[in-house]
Amino acid sequence: MGLKSRGLDVWEADMRFREGEEVTEDEWDREILPQAVQKYVDKYDIEIDLSKPVPEDEQLKEDIFNAGVDLLSDIGIYNIDTETVMEVSKEEIMAGLEKAPGKLTLGEGKDAVEVLPRTGNDKRPPLTQGGPTGAPVTEDIFVEMHQTYAQEPSVDLIVDGVPSGYMGNDTPAGTAMEIKGTLFELRSVREACTRAGRPNMGI
């Protein structure tokens, strides 16, 4: 995959937020967003039957997608740091989707897996990205914890947990020790994959 080039990208968004309409977070959360959401729930008459976690109605699927596009193009994107709103058009939303890759390779060599689109509930199940998913893990067993996932044959990728510390120290965000903690985390997960005989799994 080459370097990406997009009409609306993170740099254009940065500029738009600088010049966007000023809105307080409270106004966005309590007025603008809820009112707009209800407007499009009503427009498409969306009703979800909680006994059916997966929709069986084809029109409902289309309506949920279109309601999301309408909502986003109507109210735009809110930036809580600048407290401004960026406008975005339907064309830009669709262009962003069109630029997304239709497949990915995660991991390397024999341990690589292809992420391919599934067509509805096709017979090929989803990939399993195994791991503690951000849950805290004691530093002393961090490698072993992740090895229990890497050694499972049905696990395709690893999602790691968070080490409780590094060399017994806390690793608060924004401190020098955070860097040590992050490197410990990355090296330990790779070590876990290596011990499981799958050194190049996607992490």
Partner: protein, 228 residues
């Protein structure tokens, strides 16, 4: 961060965990917000694949009925409107390792993710992902087995199974959430990795295998067909 990733030509996964019961109100509003948030990832953040995880405002889990419905509807909507978009979902069950309830929770979510056409299942942060060492590879094994069991199944048939499966644990949230007994192998926090595995060779304990097999047998009685 995103600007640096793009300049470095990295593969970019964007994560969001929409709240059921937040500013979007009920299930319909929360689902539409979830959809719009996915779209932001592709519009502004150069997203290659999107990872969500609808969280219940009261319980802090992804395995509640409403959270499964949010994820299931958004994935199915993408599958119809934009079938090439690559989607993942992350797992935060209420119960911890070595409990029947935890295994049923992750199985229900894996079935929902599979049937709705999702590409990646990511987890599991068992015991809500807040207790230290309360996660193990066995929960991921269950995710894979449950996904394989329903892959290709008729959607209506799968919905009936998931509905019954969620029914079997959703009345226990309060008791399980308040359970602080680590020896409880039915509900609650469950056990740590050190209690679930022989740490000398990293094999699951006989106790966890027993809980695992019993959970599978219970799900088979609900209509799940596991291989082997």
């Amino acid at each position: 961060m995103v600007a640096g990733w793009v300049e470095n030509n990295d593969t970019i996964m964007i994560e969001e965990m929409p709240i059921f019961g937040g500013y979007g109100g009920g299930i319909e509003g929360s689902t539409v917000i979830d959809m719009a948030t996915h779209l932001i990832s592709y519009t502004m953040y150069h997203c290659d694949w999107h990872l969500e995880g609808p969280i219940h405002v009261r319980w802090g889990i992804t395995t509640a009925r409403e959270c499964l419905a949010m994820a299931g509807h958004v994935a199915a909507a993408f599958n119809k409107a934009q079938p090439d978009i690559l989607l993942g979902n992350q797992y935060y069950p209420l119960s911890g390792p070595c409990t029947n309830m935890c295994l049923k929770e992750v199985a229900a979510q894996a079935m929902t993710d599979t049937v709705s056409g999702r590409e990646i299942m990511s987890g599991s942060a068992s015991a809500k992902g807040v207790l230290k060492d309360y996660t193990t590879g066995m929960e991921s094994r269950m995710m894979s087995e449950a996904a394989e069991a329903v892959a290709g199944l008729d959607v209506s048939e799968a919905n009936e199974i998931i509905d019954k499966l969620v029914n079997s644990y959703e009345d226990d949230y309060r008791e399980a959430d308040q359970t602080k007994d680590p020896d409880n192998t039915e509900l609650g926090n469950g056990k740590t990795l050190q209690e679930c595995y022989d740490m000398s060779d990293l094999t699951p304990t006989d106790e966890y295998w027993e809980v695992y097999e019993e959970a599978k047998e219970e799900m088979e009685e609900l209509g799940v067909s596991f291989e082997g």
